[in-house]
Symmetry: C2
């Protein structure tokens, strides 16, 4: 065919490169060459029409709570690269942490005929996701999951991460360690706090009044948590924060009442957001492979969409790593 | 109609709320209520089919070079909020700074029938954008523009920003000020460096060997620029970096050769990325209203799509502000 000649490839290769569901069998460089040749010749595949015929749109949606939280851009990038290599377009939706808006946006994207969802906004009890699961809409949860385990989930070894923090602090001689926990309506909040409890028990450290739940994963909530900790009078020499933003908020709050880190207390974060290594002191935290998490969620979604049936319910937990920097020091 | 009754609104309101091009006339809360009512009743507007009929898809694409560069998430969020309020879905594409990949992705999105593009990847000479302009494809440039001014552009008052930096440093007594310039194949690189030249002339400060062009807007390029500056032996007491990442890279490089900021030199950035206030010393920089920039680009695109014709070629420059923090001090 003309496009194959223009691109200098075998006709079968050109045909695979122009077919989004076969495109994965051809190298990205070749796909690009063929698509460019097709464009030069004015032959542009009418994917919209083909989507209607095959009931596939080759569009996948990624639903995140807040693009300006630097946890999410690497997840977006990882998912986008896998999806685009497979000929899928990624639609990104930012719900601004608003469940009503999320429901409206997901309804609108289903009306647009997207093939599936990657969801980073899961709450522990989440009727919207229960409905998607019951419907059989291809949906993969990333980072957070629901109480029901009926949708595939790609997350991190949160329990390992928290245990690494507690062990590191205990090894430095800390005994009065407290946990600024994430919200209990998120799986990450629940699992990190239960891992904290288990790790403290393992090291035979005191758990009484040691867990303070924060209302959200934000600097403001971390500051409020630290203020409550100070007001309670509970002694502490170290804090395990459920994520980096909570740690930053707590440090700012405690500095306001004269407590300097690591002179007066140690603290650990979770996620290793960009710039955490550039703070003074640089934040000791748990590095989560965020881009890989997004990529893995995308591969799982493509597997489901390609199989025309329900996937084996699966749960993938990626390994994490403790990055020791300046906010932790011997007691 | 049934949906209006279910939502408790006037039928005309329900009809506007379900029509993406009239949706802007109804409050977002009402739109949500009506869409939810429609969903409960199993009445979901078939936007895909309507897109084919009216030759609109109600999908707009935002093309960015790198979602993990924290310059872009606020722009994405600003654009997303305006587009979704108007019933449009935002497709996000990350080109990973690769022009070939950008060409392939834009071709694929045109094949998917998107209604228009917001482009944050413009190079100074950009044949792909020249083609989009010649085609009449609704396209709005954001943050960076091309040499030709035939597409609407939404950016910031870069010249003001650079002048504020030079004036601030000159007021602090600095005379040997150098500029780590952005790449000359970007409008921001060219305009900030010409603004630097103008501001230095205005203050009658020496310009010889005062401008060093960096190969990209990255920390690595900033470090390389600072290394060249040191190697040149040119005296300097202050640096105006063309963006925050260049400033961070330069500071790290100079710290490696024993130069501490602000003790040994002052430095300014550009953009005020998140966390710049949390560094030690906190970065003096130019705050750009990034979310507003994205929102304005989206409004401009919607205006073009709605008008069914070419827009008046326009150029919107949003005001900037100098945020004075710890990296600048008297000479």
């Amino acid at each position: 065919m003309e496009v194959a000649r223009e691109a200098g490839v075998h006709p079968a290769t050109a045909s695979r490169a122009l077919n989004p569901s076969a495109r994965g069998e051809v190298s990205p460089r070749t796909v690009r060459r063929v698509v460019q040749a097709a464009e030069r010749l004015g032959y542009v595949p009418n994917t919209l029409a083909r989507g209607l015929r095959t009931s596939r749109s080759f569009v996948a949606a990624l639903v995140i709570p807040d693009i300006t939280n630097s946890l999410f851009p690497p997840i977006v990038r990882g998912a986008e690269q896998v999806l685009s290599a497979a000929g899928f377009t990624l639609v990104l939706t930012d719900t601004n942490n608003d469940p009503d808006s999320e429901r409206g946006q997901i309804a609108s994207m289903r009306a647009h005929g997207v093939d599936g969802f990657i969801i980073a906004t899961a709450r522990w009890q989440d009727s919207l996701l229960d409905e998607l699961a019951a419907d059989g809409t291809p949906t993969v949860l990333v980072n957070r999951r629901t109480a029901k385990s009926d949708l595939p989930f790609v997350g991190a070894e949160d329990q390992d991460g928290v245990r690494l923090c507690v062990d590191h602090l205990a090894d430095l001689g800390h005994r009065n360690i407290v946990h600024l926990a994430g919200p209990s309506d998120t799986s990450t909040g629940r699992e990190r706090s239960s891992a904290f409890r288990a790790a403290m028990r393992m090291r035979q450290l005191p758990l009484r009044s040691a867990i303070l739940e924060c209302a959200s994963y934000s600097e403001a909530a971390g500051a409020a948590g630290a203020a409550r900790l100070r007001a309670s009078g509970r002694p502490f020499s170290a804090i395990v924060a459920a994520n980096d933003l909570l740690a930053l908020g707590a440090m700012e709050q405690l500095a306001g009442s004269g407590l300097q880190c690591p002179r007066d207390y140690s603290i650990t974060g979770f996620n290793d957001l960009s710039f955490m290594s550039k703070l003074t002191p640089a934040l000791t935290t748990v590095r989560v492979p965020l881009a890989e998490m997004g990529a893995h969620a995308a591969r799982t979604l493509l597997g489901w969409i390609g199989s025309d049936g329900n996937p084996t319910s699966l749960r993938v937990l990626l390994p994490v790593e403790l990055i020791i920097r300046g906010t932790t020091s011997p007691h």
